[in-house]
Symmetry: D2
Subunit: 122 residues, 4 copies
């Protein structure tokens, strides 16, 4: 193991992802890019950024900020994601993403047969 | 929070993913589907399956087992993944995937400018 | 960072502990040794051992197996832990620990003032 | 599962602890209270507080702030913990705890026989 990274920085920088999300995102009708948008939102949360912009997200995705906006809209339509409004300590109204609809779907989901998609073309 | 899941099953079923992987897979030249193949291999490891078949993996991906085989070959070529041979306790030779090349790249990587890809078309 | 450990073995061997448990075990009336018995049971679960013996647990604690048995009894009395019986795939009845009572207490707990204990003497 | 906690708050609030720390702290000569001081420092890090006071720590331990100061001194003497000085973005010199000595010991440790302690009396 090369010496460029401290153990501390490895241990401090992990994100927990529910196995069920990795196992069942296909059953929820999600594709890999949509899943990664959700996972990036989850990662930004752990870093204290509750409302990353489409460009923030696209910096860590293979899609552009504009395409990311479309994915975000689709995820909100599919009810995987909501935008919530919260007053911060200075009584300023802030928006933030909530993944609670995703976790609720996931943890209360009754699995059905996998709808194998054909759209992968590279 | 609906009552269908125990806290225990939620807590017992999480996978840790390095933030650096989520932040930098694009810089490593990976696309979302390739990333998800690597993450699924990582998840199978945590469940004790060190050598899932392409079909095992494809069951949790939007691609077919055959397409998954191609991705696996590409990941081995890109040196993100290796296949190792290990003797088990009965001296039977077993194969398993190792993600060590990926973690080494990731944790010893010097970031360069993001090569923004254009190939996202849906 | 010395070279004795692979990144893979570091990443594969982490246990997730709810922050609330670390923050609030004192409020739940637990001491450090009791907490560590619960955490060791949680760790054994993640390794597939659902019913470690008091000696298994004591191997990773500063107390003896006999003292560990007493702690286990106390934790069951305090309703932090239960022993459940489950049929395995061969219809053999197996016992296992469940930490669900702990997680329920933790995640539904209304915090009260910290009962500062005085019994620490070294 | 009672309805008082969102899935999101459960998923967002976990701390990763290396299994090796839970397995081997006894071998490293640590007792449960010392371990918990280290784990609380690790938890505070994940929340962005790199230099919690002894009283901050003691609020989540069964010991007083004064006793916690003694434990901290002992952990520094045992070389499990160091205090580092860092310039922040405003060029102010800040102190922070580093657990790197602990992780190095842990991940490069050659296990010896467990020195079973007798000091547990309740």
């Amino acid at each position: 193991m090369p010496k460029y990274q401290s153990f501390e920085s490895i241990l401090d920088n992990q994100v927990m992802i529910p196995k069920k999300l990795l196992c069942d995102y296909i059953k929820l009708g999600l594709k890999e890019t949509e899943l990664m948008v959700l996972i990036q939102i989850h990662r930004f949360r752990t870093e204290g950024n509750l409302f990353p912009t489409p460009d923030d997200l696209a910096d860590h995705l293979s899609i552009s900020g504009q395409e990311c906006s479309q994915v975000l809209r689709r995820l909100i339509q599919k009810q995987m994601l909501t935008i919530e409004q919260k007053h911060n300590e200075d009584q300023v109204l802030n928006e933030c993403y909530s993944l609670e609809p995703l976790w609720e779907k996931l943890y209360t989901y009754t699995p059905v047969q996998k709808p194998k998609t054909q759209e992968f073309n590279e």
